[in-house]
Amino acid sequence: MDVLRITFLRIVYSALLLAAVVVLNFVMIHLAPGDVADTIAQSMGGADAEILAQIRADYGLDQPFIVQLGQYIWKVLHFDLGSSYYYNRPVTELILERLPATLLLVITAQTLALVIGVVTGVFSARRPNGFLSHLVTIVAFFGHAAPVFWTGILLLIAFSLQIHWFPVGGMRDVTVTGGFWAHSFDVARHMVLPVFTLSTTFLALYSRLCRASMMETLGSDYVRTAKAKGLPMRSVVYKHALKNALSPVITLAGLQFSAVISGAVLVETVFSWPGLGTLAFQVIVARDTPTILGILFFSALIVIAGNLLTDLVQRLVDPRVRTGQ
């Protein structure tokens, strides 16, 4: 009842945020110097004022701002984000083609970072001055200070160009034959370096937060109660301490979605991963505004979906959030 209502409100709020992104997109197109007519004229090799006016009328650019905004929103509601100047194809089509690759990269990297971060965090919380704790601190500083594209290039030089363990880039090898598993293995091989590179930037962040959070819960009264109940250590640590310690880590992971997407843009560019990031790189160089804004829209969509997901997971883990306490 209440849970459903809160979830519903969250979804409505997410939709509003997305609508705001659409409006922002439109405002930016308007503020930017030059418009569609200029671009089209340019591609035709120049045009005089009369033709420009004609194009503006065709595209509805002579309408008042608010009418144009309404038309734009109406189009977006029908998944029409315009047409790419560079590829000469509908933007939605172009993006949906690339979206799975980015999602695969982003979700795998997030999951990997979370799992490794939580596991190392739990272990280093039990030995705050142990080897693992210090290693995580060092990795954290590296992940914070090293530019992610640079880490990627170094790994590329070391593992692809020098010792040939992994492919240099791309997502699949066209020469690979065989069934589903052969292709999956091929994609997995291509994924190793990009996923690892992307993970390094925030893995240690999760680990350190999880460590701090675990140290706090391990010292809490309810963990003392769990021990006083004579529960085995496994149950004390994982059932009683960890479930409480996860909350802040999940919150942080949700906030990181936007940073992960940003990192993905750079990592995809380095490893020629055929996702939204490489697409963004190509169309930005070509000043292909509709596609750029389409990518911004879809990446915001991923972040919003990620936040919503985080919210739901948070509700599953913590009953206090569930009932809005």
Binding site: S220, D221, Y222, R224, T225, A226, K227, A228, K229, G230, L231, P232, S235, H240, K243, N244, V317, D318, P319, R320, T323, Q325
Partner: protein
């Protein structure tokens, strides 16, 4: 006479930045089957450490039993293996803590937190443990136990949470229940209810009780025998009525005079409410070879400042560690 619990010359050391401090210094006492005993003293005198030592739950890496023995049912808990201690904790010895607000895990329902102990120690199935948990909630007088079992701790009041803690501690019908300041964090009216509950449950189950408190009123209400602790040492020990009627240690006298209704009832005349002046010495002073109470004591003489007082017995059951005990 066989004792359920017998502590012999227990010394607990805390590792501090400045060195090692004996928070419990040469403590011996016994607890009989079905007996109710109370540890009294201001905070910081080592009462809780005694309880944690019995449970084998001294803070890891900071506190340890340096010497002495804790005999429970013929077995030395100091030497017991971690697995053996786990078997005893929550099963043979239950414990409730001071802070009901934080002692329950916020992310599990209270029913689950009770059922968990039953599954662990009695091998009950999920279903049987849940049914038993509801019985226990009923036993600690929580209304609508079936529905309340699914509630989370934050949905309950402090008194109700402490009832849940009691249900957890008593779930496996332990031989000893240790209650560390069980009512300190609660309202006065709720305190009385919790005491009533504990008394009734004790009558039904025959569990021995070790209650740790700084409240003389609680002692008078709950315990048969009391041990007054000061700065990690036993100051006085004896039956509650005897000690209240004729305390043989100036510290005990001070504690008693803090509780007007006790004194009024016993002496028929109301005295001024006077606290014991001064504060408990810092941990760094623990373990020195003198009377640690001397700095706050009106009767202190030269001997108190140079030699640690020995325990003097006044009857089989009443003992005091004060050089001036005879004169009181």
């Amino acid at each position: 006479m066989s004792f359920l619990l017998k502590v012999e010359n227990l010394r607990i050391e805390l590792r501090m930045r400045a060195g090692v401090a004996p928070v419990i210094d040469d403590l011996s006492f016994e607890l009989a089957h079905g007996e109710s005993i109370s540890f009294v003293g201001e905070s910081g005198c080592g009462k809780s450490m005694t309880a944690l030592a019995i449970m084998g739950l001294l803070p890891e890496g900071i506190g340890r039993v340096a010497s002495g023995k804790i005999w429970f049912d013929g077995e030395d808990l100091v030497a017991a293996s971690p697995a053996r201690l786990r078997h005893i904790r929550g099963n043979k010895i239950g414990m409730i803590f001071q802070e009901p607000m934080t002692s329950l895990n916020p992310v599990y329902s209270v029913g689950e937190q009770i059922a968990e102990v039953l599954r662990e120690h009695q091998g009950l199935s999920r279903k049987a443990a849940w049914a038993e948990a509801i019985e226990l909630l009923d036993a600690v007088r929580i209304p609508n136990p079936e529905t309340r079992a699914t509630a989370y701790p934050f949905e309950m009041s402090g008194g109700q949470r402490q009832r849940v803690m009691i249900a957890i501690a008593l779930a496996c019908k332990p031989k000893i229940l240790i209650a560390d300041e069980p009512t300190t964090a609660l309202d006065v009216t709720v305190q009385a209810q919790i005491f009533d509950l504990l008394r009734d449950l004790r009558r039904q189950t025959g569990t021995s009780l070790i209650m740790i408190t700084h409240d003389m009123g609680a002692v008078a209400e709950m315990a048969e025998r009391m041990i007054v602790m000061y700065a990690g040492r036993k100051a006085e020990e004896g039956p509650v009525d005897k000690v209240i009627a004729h305390a043989r240690h100036p510290y005990t006298q001070g504690l008693i005079s803090c509780v007007p209704h006790l004194v009024a009832h016993l002496t028929e005349e109301r005295q001024d409410l006077n606290e014991v002046p001064g504060i408990v010495p810092g941990l760094a002073e623990f373990g020195q070879g003198r009377c640690l109470f001397a700095s706050r004591c009106a009767r202190a003489t030269e001997r108190c400042l140079t030699t640690r007082p020995e325990e003097i017995a006044f009857s089989d059951v009443h003992r005091s560690a004060c050089w001036h005990a005879e004169g009181m």
